[in-house]
């Protein structure tokens, strides 16, 4: 009788094993196989691929760039998304719905389409964005966007912004408006209320939004592929290249497994930190 719950969840477990665990295990096994230009993949057990990735500074640079971009994107979405969510939360009924649609609408459009839009706007030195920035007088010479980290960051911030806004908005919705009134009644000005009452309570939302955005930014594929192409690679586009262009599957597998491991470590670690910090206060 006690086995019933397990039996009932068996189909789901089988599916999980079939589409996640088995391919993942095969990928890990693949990382230990040998590969040569002419002989293809040889099912042996060697550490050559791991040694190459850890030994060649090219790969360190690649992972460094991946996580640098993810970190900058995370900070920027937090800086822009948290105020955005706060303003959204303070809006009155008809406007709030409208602007929520404006902010979340992009989620309905394919990432590829949105990034191609940015590519068009960036489009070389005479791109629209540069022309606009120059005509406003913000910059004197065009900024290179295509095939640069700057361009990737701008496009990723745009693509991932809705996740941050949603996470912060959910946290703000749980706030009791009377708590702000209580602070005002005790003599707090608007800025004090924002910094000392609203922000600390929104912090769990900002942090969980940051974890999501970081994970998505570090593993993003379409946006870096379109903005960076084959000239400026990140971990995910590198793995793709090894698999489909160089055909060195074992090496691509090492990159993919490393990216996955690093992400899992960072996300789980950040989550633990957040939970430990806030368990006492918000639970």
């Amino acid at each position: 009788m006690r086995a019933v719950p397990y039996l009932l969840s068996l189909p789901a477990l089988l599916l999980f094993a079939g589409v996640v665990v088995i391919p993942l295990a095969m990928t890990v096994v693949l990382t230990f196989h040998d590969w040569g230009q002419y002989k293809g993949i040889e099912p042996v057990f060697i550490l050559k691929n791991w040694q190459e990735v850890f030994g060649d500074p090219y790969y360190a640079e690649m992972f460094g760039r991946t996580f640098r971009i993810a970190l900058i994107v995370t900070v920027l979405t937090a800086l822009l998304g948290a105020p955005e969510a706060y303003i959204l939360n303070r809006m009155k009924s008809p406007w709030r719905g409208l602007f929520l649609l404006v902010i979340l609408g992009p989620l309905l459009i394919s990432v590829v389409a949105r990034t191609l839009g940015w590519a068009l706007l960036f489009g070389g030195n005479s791109g629209l964005v540069n022309k606009a920035l120059m005509s406003v007088g913000l910059i004197s010479a065009p900024i290179p966007f295509m095939f640069t980290e700057t361009g990737m960051v701008v496009a990723l911030v745009h693509v991932l912004m809705p996740y941050m806004v949603l996470a912060v908005w959910a946290a703000l919705q749980r706030l009791d408006p009377q708590v702000e009134n209580a602070a005002v009644a005790l003599g707090a000005g608007p800025l004090t209320v924002l910094c000392r009452i609203v922000l600390p309570q929104a912090m769990p939302g900002i942090l969980s939004g940051a974890v999501i955005v970081f994970a998505l930014a570090a593993s993003a594929f379409a946006t870096p592929a379109i903005i960076g192409g084959r000239r400026l690679k990140v971990a995910s586009t590198l793995a793709y290249d090894e698999f489909l262009n160089t055909l060195n599957w074992p090496l691509g597998a090492v990159v993919a497994v490393l990216l996955l491991l690093a992400l899992v470590l960072i996300v789980v670690g950040a989550n633990r930190l957040v939970e430990r910090r806030y368990a006492q206060v918000f639970g």
């Binding site: 209580a182 005002v184 009644a185 005790l186 003599g187 707090a188």
Partner: protein
Amino acid sequence: MAFLALDTLTKHFGSHVAVDRLTLKVEKGEFVSLLGPSGCGKTTTLQMIAGFVEPTSGGIRLEGRDLLAVKPAKRGLGIVFQSYALFPHMTVAENVSFGLEMQGVAAAERAKRVGETLDLVGLGAFAGRFPRQLSGGQQQRVALARALVIRPQILLLDEPLSNLDAKLREEMQIELRQIQRTVGTTTILVTHDQGEAMALSDRIVVMNHGRAEQIGPPHETYERPATPFVASFLGKTNLVSGATVRPERISFAAAGLAGTVRTRIFQGNHWLYQVDTADGLVTVIRQNTGEAMPGEGAAVRLAWRALPPQSSGEVSASSRTEGS
């Protein structure tokens, strides 16, 4: 000159009149309750005094100054919200300290006053806890301490005890009254519980549909209700022989209205009777003095002292009792 004066204070929400020409004078140190059913405009009145709701018309004066010209953050009032509205991310001590920080009180003085106030409400041992680690009654005390520590000119309490269970509520009533006596702060309490209002207040403002139906000391309001609404809201009433009579003012006598006991309920310190009479069902409350009382089915005769006659419904301003 009154300490706090509300002058024909009115608030409309669209076409709905939440508070209707409320005039009230509160003396320094006085404990006044706004009593009325849910939706009668009590919270709106309190929020107008606090400054979170702007009146449609009318005025509020504190020691002669126009309070409406003062920003909510500068009014210096202590407010206990119905939901307590504690800062969830701050400890008890930080919550209580916040208002003093805003006033720019030095850290040493702040710590001393926070400690004193927490002791006053009996929470000295809980300074380091977060609000969600406290029971409802303890959270209520933190809210009270946070409001009192800034030494407010007026303490505004919005249904502060309604989230507590009955036993704790009674304890807190006594404690609240003692604390208010100790610090002597002018207090306005909002409540829908007539027992609470009568137990705590120097005067009661009985509100209905945004209007003050009667203003007066609890005993007087109970004994001489100005309207049928006030009479029935403050306690049980019977209508016998055209007069309004409170159940505890009816006694079993040798002569009087004849009736038969339909039900008798024992409630510890008193007996609750329902008596069939020619005037309909009459509720009677008799103190439990230990003597034998008539049982169910017994034939009894009822004698009583009626409440003075009330004006029907609408009261003109002149007929309201404006006590003390």
